[in-house]
């Protein structure tokens, strides 16, 4: 059954690859296939090997298949209206989908790595669809290299496990990996953690993410941000937490720290962006951080042998994974619509789009509220779970460890608040107010609007009724086979339905009370001057206070030049330039890059030209070796 379904997905995707006209339909079909497969696996529970160990299906994988399926289905639907009929997309998109599915259902490390690398290369070609635009190739290249780095770490980690267990089958790993010695587990944790972490975009390996995601076409960005980076989380949970079981207590704390740092820095960098898609990409880093906080809680639970805490962390991270997939793909799809609608994504040029594309605007608002974790949307539930997990860790430990846990919770709180600011900014400057520049308005087809709205609706539904889906998570195989009991009261104290009902009813009552339909439009107040669009706050001015507050992170710079004849006193024109310093790029990656080039140059010095030197190498080496013999 499952094997048949996998085969069907393969065939559908391959058909799409062969034929450009078929591509849309068959991608949609294979996406739905993935969704169904995920549902089947999840409902059945447990794990099974399929096709002589080529595929290995676990409940965790089932959950990630659903995550992938949802995003893929919506992106495929969205593609019907998305005016990008390039050959690149029609060939590589099915392969990309297929490889992501195969990563999840892979049964041994060879299949996994093949799928993983195929995923990298196909997404690289998708990212560079518009290679003629400046900067795209560079972004794609950085993405490719970072991905390969990740693949190599994963390879090393797999080899470490495989050489210890003398098998590369995941089913065997699941059974025996927990018996490995602790020192070996540490090595595996380091290698696989780095490998999967780089691919999911943790700080400081995040630099590829804000470059690669924005330049890709919108459905691709949605898939990459919504599904692909989640596979890193899948790897961490499957191999490091579930398979390895109890390990050194140090590691969950590292995961928590990495999560907090990624979350905070991700949102802080997002705040300074005025390109909508780059902003969303930075938010992916933030959300990966939040998911990792949940993962860390799960790890702490495993190490403390606390099934309830383990399950809390698991539920928090997995649910946030799904939620982020939903609202992030929704936001990316909406951003794609904005781009097609106006031809730009620069928040400093846009404004008032809620009047020209109300459907997308409402979808974006729903997504913004979900990503900011506001009730009654789904982000609220998963962040609530994460908070609960962190505060539980904090309150069950003493002094320093307690402070650490509380600090993490506070970091998450700060992250949430900053995300709020960022999305007030994003939604406010792009969809509200008066247009800042005159931009064209192309009509958006309904097939681009509806996926965005459906995803918004899905967010809302999951925010109000999270319990059924969370119950499915009880099947995820953990070595501490408890947690099922705690499932029921996990969400008992957050009465999502009550709160949602109160909120909707209250808003309706007050809206009726204030008679919103009777309100007349009048000119706005601007101290008596004639108001114009430039008086509005822009993206940069909105976040000025945050920029100064976090100056130690941003290292902002500004330059004010006075131009004109009597420049110092009466300037004709002022030239203002400002920005922030990309710290990681400047202080880590640039020097590293230069260093590698220098070493490379140095290594070719060996090949200096004169044949007598070459002969001297040869004879010298042999002489040296003979001298060693005794």
């Amino acid at each position: 059954m499952t094997f048949g379904l996998i085969t069907a997905v393969f065939l559908a995707a391959l058909a799409g690859m062969m034929n450009r006209k078929l591509s849309n339909t068959s991608t949609l079909i294979s996406s739905l296939g993935i969704l169904i497969l995920g549902g089947l696996v999840l409902l059945r529970g447990g794990s099974a090997t399929v096709a002589h160990g080529i595929f290995y299906l676990s409940t965790l994988g089932g959950w990630f298949l659903i995550v992938l399926g949802v995003v893929a289905t919506m992106s495929s639907w969205y593609r019907w209206g998305y005016p990008d009929h390039s050959r690149t997309t029609s060939i590589w998109l099915p392969i990309f989908l297929l490889s992501m599915m195969t990563v999840i259902v892979a049964g041994n490390s060879w299949v996994f790595l093949t799928a993983w690398e195929t995923m990298t290369i196909s997404s690289f070609f998708l990212v560079t669809t518009h290679h003629e635009k400046p900067g795209v190739l560079q972004s794609g290249y950085i993405y490719l290299v970072m991905s390969q780095l990740s693949a190599m770490f994963i390879l090393a980690g797999f080899m470490a496990i495989g050489s210890q267990l003398h098998s590369f089958d995941f089913a065997i790993w699941a059974a025996h990996a927990s018996t490995m010695p602790d020192s070996y587990k540490n090595l595996v944790f380091l290698l696989l953690g780095l490998g999967f972490g780089i691919k999911s975009g943790i700080v400081p390996f995040h630099i590829w993410l804000p470059r690669a995601h924005p330049v890709a076409p919108a459905p691709i960005s949605a898939l990459m941000s919504g599904a692909m980076i989640k596979l890193g989380i899948f790897g961490i949970m499957q191999f490091l937490l579930i398979d390895l079981g109890q390990s050194d207590r140090f590691w969950p704390l590292v995961v928590l720290a990495v999560g907090a740092v990624s979350a905070l820095l991700g949102v802080l960098y997002a705040l300074m962006e005025h390109d909508l898609k780059r902003l969303l990409a930075y938010h992916s880093i933030e959300n990966i951080g939040i998911i990792l906080l949940g993962v860390g809680v799960m790890g702490v639970g495993i190490d403390w042998q606390q099934p309830a805490l383990t399950f809390l962390g698991l539920a928090a991270s997995l649910f946030h994974t799904l939620n982020h997939a939903i609202f992030k793909s929704q936001l990316f799809l909406a951003a794609g619509a904005v781009e097609k609608h106006t031809g730009t994504l620069d928040a400093d040029h846009l404004g008032g789009l809620i009047r020209t594309m109300p459907g997308i605007a409402i979808g974006f608002l729903a997504g913004s509220m979900a990503i900011t974790a506001l009730p009654p949307f789904n982000g609220f539930v998963s962040e609530w779970l994460t908070f609960r997990g962190l505060l539980t860790v904090a309150s069950h430990s003493v002094f320093l460890m307690g402070i650490y846990g509380l600090g993490l919770a506070m970091a998450l709180g700060l992250t949430g608040a900053l995300a709020g600011v960022c999305f007030i900014k994003a939604f406010g400057t792009i969809f509200l107010g008066e247009p800042r520049k005159a931009v064209g308005h192309t009509t958006i087809p309904a097939s681009m609007t509806w996926p965005v709205l459906s995803l918004g609706l899905l967010s809302l539904v999951l925010g109000i009724f999270p319990q059924p889906l969370l119950n499915l998570l009880g099947h995820v195989g953990l070595q501490t086979q408890a947690g099922h009991t705690d499932l029921g009261n996990l969400l008992v104290s957050v009465k999502t339905l009550t709160v949602a009902a109160l909120l909707l009813a209250g808003t309706a009552i007050f809206a009726v009370f204030s008679r919103v339909w009777q309100i007349k439009t009048v000119p706005r107040w601007s101290c008596g001057r004639v108001p114009d669009a430039s008086m509005q706050f822009t993206s940069a001015s909105f976040t000025k206070a945050i920029r100064t507050t976090f100056a130690f992170i941003y290292r902002p710079h500004r330059k004010l030049e006075r131009l004109g004849q009597h420049a110092p006193d009466f300037a004709d024109r002022l030239l203002y330039q400002g920005g922030t310093v990309p710290v990681w790029e400047r202080h880590v990656y640039k020097p590293m890059y230069r260093w590698i080039w220098r070493v490379s140059h140095l290594s070719t010095r060996m090949q200096a030209g004169p044949i007598r030197l070459y002969l001297a190498y040869l004879l010298g080496t042999v002489g040296l070796m003979i001298a060693i013999i005794h």
């Binding site: 290369i121 290249y141 390879l155 003398h166 490379s600 060693i628």
Partner: protein, 442 residues
């Protein structure tokens, strides 16, 4: 014994070629290619039994013939592009080179392997000189001198081994690998160690192990592309496997620092690191491929150095994949450099907007070389790395993994440039090889 029939093809060809008249139209080139193809198929029929059994010799012959036949087919367009090359001489030398490669593959005897290898040097060097410009002269000179010195090293080792074994009364079969294996214990350990050092570095020179590789980038980049394919794809691997056969037959006591496997692993690692580092700053497309060969040979050396059955299989796989991929890339590089009139990587740009087949071919080849699954080489490399882990050679494993990443980065860097790079303003700014030759003479 029947394997020796495979030498008939090259010999017949070399004789037949001398009978041809050097008329302008190259119609007979096609017949040579057909002859090589037919011969390859016939030999395949002879050796198929051994092939199924996984005999090394059979595999070597098969892969040598396969690359030779592609080289023969590629020679037709290549000769058309390079009118200044004398086809008769070219094909004569080519046939000798092919024959010497087959002889290395076949050889069951250390001394014969040595001889065949020496002849392969001479034949291929003569082919490089056929290009006729200053660069190729320089490359060929370095190639012959360095390779000869290296091979003399190997010969010193062989003399030691022979001198130790001549009392066995086996006469000239003393140096058969099987006899070596049977009698190696009568060789004093120190002699074994000394001979291993000489033979590994001697044949290692032909295999292109760093620091004996110095001739390799020059020779491979200046040779005619069809010959570069054979040089890089076949000759390097065969030299390495000759070392492996010797090392397998005459093992050094396990505790010795300079045992064959240690040397192979050491030089292999150094080759991987240096080869991958050099990739990043290359300007010449064929030099790029040559350095990548050094790196690949290093990986093979690791596999052969470990010597476990799994590692040997992986090494063999690596050899086969590398032979097919690298040779086709060399052919492609030759045609591209003629088409764009430059061998500079930054001159060969914007492939993607041209013929689709060409860009797909090039991209697939480079990506395969970069170690991207499911394109062959990735798997053999992974297998080798897994063997390193199993043997607990962590440092080597990390160095190899790191270098593979670097290789990937460098090759894709150049690939992106090739596929979509900005079209160079005037494609004719770089002098062609013929112009260079003329300039050199003037």
């Amino acid at each position: 014994m029947s394997y020796y029939w495979s030498l008939l093809g090259p010999l017949a060809l070399s004789v037949a070629v001398t009978r041809t008249h050097n008329n302008a139209d190259g119609r007979w080139h096609k017949w040579i290619a057909i002859w090589v193809t037919v011969d390859a198929i016939a030999v395949m029929a002879i050796i198929q039994h051994g092939l199924f059994l996984g005999e090394w010799r059979a595999i070597f012959i098969a892969i040598t013939n396969f690359v030779a036949l592609t080289s023969a087919w590629d020679s037709i367009p290549w000769l058309k592009e390079h009118g200044s090359v004398n086809p008769t001489r070219y094909y004569f030398l080519w046939a000798l080179f092919w024959g010497s490669l087959l002889a290395i593959s076949l050889s069951q005897n250390l001394a014969l392997s040595w001889l065949a290898m020496e002849f392969s040097t001479l034949a291929s060097a003569a082919l490089i000189v056929e290009m006729g410009d200053r660069h190729s002269l320089e490359a060929a000179w370095k190639y012959v001198v360095i390779a000869s010195v290296g091979l003399i090293m190997a010969l010193i080792g062989i003399v030691f081994i022979y001198a130790s074994l001549r009392f066995q009364g086996l006469l000239w079969t003393t140096l058969d690998y099987s006899n070596l294996q049977n009698h190696y214990q009568s060789i004093a350990p120190v002699v074994r160690e000394l001979a291993t050092v000489f033979i590994v570095s001697g044949f290692g020179t032909k295999a292109g192990l760093v620091p004996f590789h110095t001739w390799l980038p020059d020779a491979h980049s200046e040779a005619p592309s069809p010959v570069s394919g054979l040089l890089s794809g076949i000759l390097l691997g065969l030299s390495l496997f000759t070392i492996a056969r010797f090392v397998g037959a005459v093992p050094v006591a396990a505790g010795d620092a300079l045992s064959g496997s240690h040397l192979l692993i050491f030089f292999g690692t150094v080759s991987i690191v240096i080869g991958s580092l050099a990739l990043l700053v290359q300007h010449d497309v064929k030099r790029l491929l040559a350095y990548s060969s050094i790196e690949q040979v290093g990986i093979m050396a690791l596999a052969l150095g470990m010597g476990t059955p799994a590692a040997l299989t992986a090494g063999l796989l690596q050899f086969v994949f590398h032979a097919t991929i690298k040779s086709s890339l060399f052919y492609g590089a030759g045609h591209l450099s003629v088409r764009y009139d430059t061998k500079r990587i930054d001159g060969i740009t914007d492939l993607a907007s041209g013929s689709q087949a060409r860009s797909v071919f090039w991209a697939l080849g480079i990506l395969a070389l970069a170690g991207l699954p499911p394109l062959g080489l990735a798997y053999s490399e992974w297998l080798i790395i897994s063997q390193l882990w199993i043997q607990h050679s962590y440092i080597v494993a990390f160095l190899t993994s790191g270098s593979l990443t670097l290789t990937f980065a460098a090759l894709t860097h150049h690939l992106i440039q090739n596929l979509w790079g900005p079209a160079s303003p005037s494609p004719r700014t770089h002098p062609t090889s013929q112009q260079r030759a003329v300039g050199g003479v003037v």
